[in-house]
């Protein structure tokens, strides 16, 4: 019976790992770079939701919308003022800017939120759903359902919409895309806005599941999301979702069946093993360049 309890707990955690991975993958698909400040976008979403729901006392739905909007705005501002001016610079420069962004956002959050670990109140008053010995919290079900729905929407967007194709083209050859008439400024802006919205949604949805919030929470979550993206194959929407759920479940299985000491390092072991033996991940594809 423990198997199903661990599976359900792992899937619940995997839901927000997947959302984080999706945010990372979006940026990666459009700009071929890793956004190391994405964990802090998650944190912005979580604390915005906390403020609106727990401090101001407005309904959770309003808190969720506010979190998504706040994180979207952060994403757009970062793209417009930090990334776009240096978009042509080497990737390492862009990545280091996102690392700096991560520290700045964390530092700013500590000014207001650094003195405590905050508890997000329960959103649903109905209590857990018990099936046999498996205990499911309503918020976890919402999180998993949202993640799956969103991944379908994103998959379809990349496959069938002009914006999705423009993102892909921009990622492969920015100059070529620009010469073909793609408004790369709009593409970047949309990508960062969407990535921000995903981070904000992840923060708002997972805050009641995590229940404990602190300014450094994004760093922990980012690493898990990163592991999910690596496992799924960086650049793959489906891979990010599958990777997220897989990392969540694997953590729980390792913690129970092997040792609790290994539970939290399992994500890092996954990153190492995948990069060494299977660098393209579960759903990654080989880069093919037409010459």
């Amino acid at each position: 019976m423990e198997f199903f309890i661990l599976l359900s707990a792992g899937l619940a955690n995997g839901g927000y790992y997947a959302l984080i991975a999706l945010g990372l993958v979006l940026i990666f698909k459009a700009q071929d770079m890793v956004q190391f400040g994405h964990g802090e976008v998650f944190m912005v979403g979580a604390f915005t939701a906390y403020t609106v729901f727990a401090v101001v006392g407005w309904p959770y739905l309003v808190a969720f919308i506010a979190a998504v909007l706040a994180a979207t705005v952060v994403g757009m501002i970062v793209e417009r003022w930090l990334i776009r001016p240096i978009a042509h610079m080497p990737h390492m420069t862009l990545v280091m800017v996102t690392v700096g962004l991560s520290f700045c956002l964390k530092g700013a959050a500590r000014i207001e939120w650094g003195k405590d670990i905050y508890t997000f109140p329960s959103v649903f008053k109905s209590g857990p759903i018990v099936i046999g010995e498996v205990v499911l919290m309503p918020q976890q079900l919402v999180l998993v359902a949202f993640t799956l729905s969103l991944s379908v929407v994103l998959y379809l967007m990349f496959k069938y919409t002009a914006l999705g194709k423009q993102m892909k083209a921009t990622s492969q050859n920015m100059t070529g895309a620009q010469l073909s008439g793609v408004n790369i400024g709009r593409v970047f802006s949309s990508t960062w806005a969407m990535s921000g919205a995903l981070g904000g949604a992840a923060g708002a949805l997972s805050a009641p599941v995590l229940s404990l919030l602190f300014p450094d929470i994004g760093t922990f979550i980012l690493l898990k999301g990163f592991a999910a993206a690596v496992l799924g194959g960086f650049g793959s929407i489906v891979g990010a979702v599958v990777g997220g759920f897989a990392v969540g479940v694997m953590e729980k299985f390792v913690g129970f069946y092997i040792s609790t000491s290994l539970e939290h390092i399992s994500a890092f072991v996954i990153i190492m093993l995948v990069l060494i033996f299977w660098p393209k991940g579960l759903f990654g594809t080989k880069d093919v360049t037409r010459v």
């Binding site: 205990v135 450094d216 539970e263």
Partner: protein
């Protein structure tokens, strides 16, 4: 005696008197005619800063209060802060700066054991009086070091309070343990683990939980599988809340014990999502009551008065005992204050009022742990108040 010789003698005596007067006023480092400079350090910035100012501000409120009444022997307490960031290297640098650059008279600080250990060599080498704020690592003050004093429970004493309580709980023969893998948890659990078998209790599961973990499913399920009579947790409050929440969620219904770091049971109840998960929780404690209880109302008022923009919290109480010990020793050391005089005065404290702490403080030449006993708390049946159960188990609800 000729007039010339008389003049020389008077002149000489005047010089000696002047030198003595100057000497008595400011011979000791960090002491002036009207101030005594005390250095404080702790994690003031960064990810663990919630253990910085909230803890340091408790004693500061007491020092500010005494300053308002004229200080000690006409001298006011002046506080100098340095950030140690819960990091041994940074703490060593902070201690050096306080001693050599800020030239403080004494130090009252340190919340993170590992970090304090980083600065301890400088403190020992210079002989500066050091009152540990809230760090619990045993070897900081045991065996006694001439210039180092600890007013709060050491880590092992905290663990032993839990052990003695467990040993008196009816029917408890097999327990499960969950702890962090850091020096803090080691300090609290090592003696507990070493001595538990001698009380006829077997540890049937010993699990690890990372700091900032997001759930405790694996730990709880492993515990549940071995059917323990009770669980001992050596976890910080946030993680203890997660453990109790998940224990309730997965039906692990046994008494759960926590260290004094979790003694704010009202806060634990809030973090765990209500009374259900914590109704069978017992925490070690070394203060009379958490912040918010009527027993600590005076200290809450003190915090509100001197830090009106901050939320009074139980962490404010942790270092207050040390502040009362310092003030009492400064009073006993007299106007001619020296570092050695203060150390000698501290070693005379016996039954000294320690503010919100349960202990009366007692230091001797060979015993620099001022408080060696504690009590256990639990929540009342309705969850609205805290019951002081005592050092041994008794049914209270």
């Amino acid at each position: 005696m000729g007039p010339k010789l008389k003049l020389r003698v008077i002149g000489g005596l005047f010089s000696v008197a002047l030198a003595l007067m100057c000497g008595s006023a400011s011979a000791e480092v960090g002491v002036t005619d009207d101030t005594i400079k005390i250095g404080m350090f702790g994690p003031l910035q960064g990810k663990v800063s919630l253990y910085g100012y909230p803890i340091n501000n408790g004693p500061i409120a007491i020092y500010k209060e005494i300053n308002e009444t004229g200080g000690i022997h006409g001298r006011k307490i002046e506080i100098v802060h340095e950030d140690g960031d819960c990091n041994p290297q940074k703490t060593a640098a902070a201690v050096k700066k306080l001693i050599h650059q800020e030239k403080v008279f004494m130090i009252h600080g340190g919340s993170c054991s590992g970090a304090v250990f980083g600065g301890i060599k400088e403190i020992k080498d210079t002989g500066i009086p050091f009152m540990i704020m809230a760090a619990t690592m045993d070897k900081l003050a045991t065996p006694a070091v001439h210039n180092i004093f600890r007013p709060a429970l050491s880590g092992s004493a905290d663990g032993m309070v839990m052990l003695e309580f467990l040993a008196t709980m009816p029917g408890v023969k097999r327990i499960a343990v969950v702890r962090h893998s850091n020096d803090w948890a080691n300090a609290k659990s090592s003696k507990f683990m070493a001595q538990i078998a001698s009380r006829g209790i077997e540890v049937v599961s010993d699990e690890e939980m990372e700091r900032k973990a997001t759930d405790a499913t694996a730990q709880v399920l492993r515990h549940k599988k071995v059917k323990p009579d009770a669980v001992a947790t050596f976890l910080y409050p946030a993680e203890a809340a997660l453990y109790t929440r998940d224990a309730a969620k997965y039906g692990l219904d046994v008494p759960i014990l926590g260290t004094n770091s979790v003694m704010d049971l009202m806060d634990l109840k809030k973090r765990a999502g209500g009374l259900g998960p914590v109704k069978n929780f017992y925490s070690a404690a070394f203060v009379q009551a958490p912040m918010g209880d009527f027993k600590t109302a005076a200290y809450r008022a003190l915090m509100t008065k001197h830090f009106p923009d901050d939320r009074p919290q139980s962490l404010n109480l942790y270092g207050m005992g040390g502040a009362y010990a310092i003030l009492e020793a400064l009073t006993r050391a007299g106007r001619d204050l020296t570092r050695e005089g203060l150390i000698s005065a501290l070693e005379t404290l016996d039954g000294t009022h320690a503010g919100p702490m349960t202990c009366k403080l007692r230091f001797t030449k060979d015993q620099h742990e001022g408080c060696v006993g504690g009590t256990m708390w639990t929540l009342s049946a309705d969850g609205n108040s805290i019951i002081d159960v005592g050092a041994a188990y008794r049914a209270v609800k």
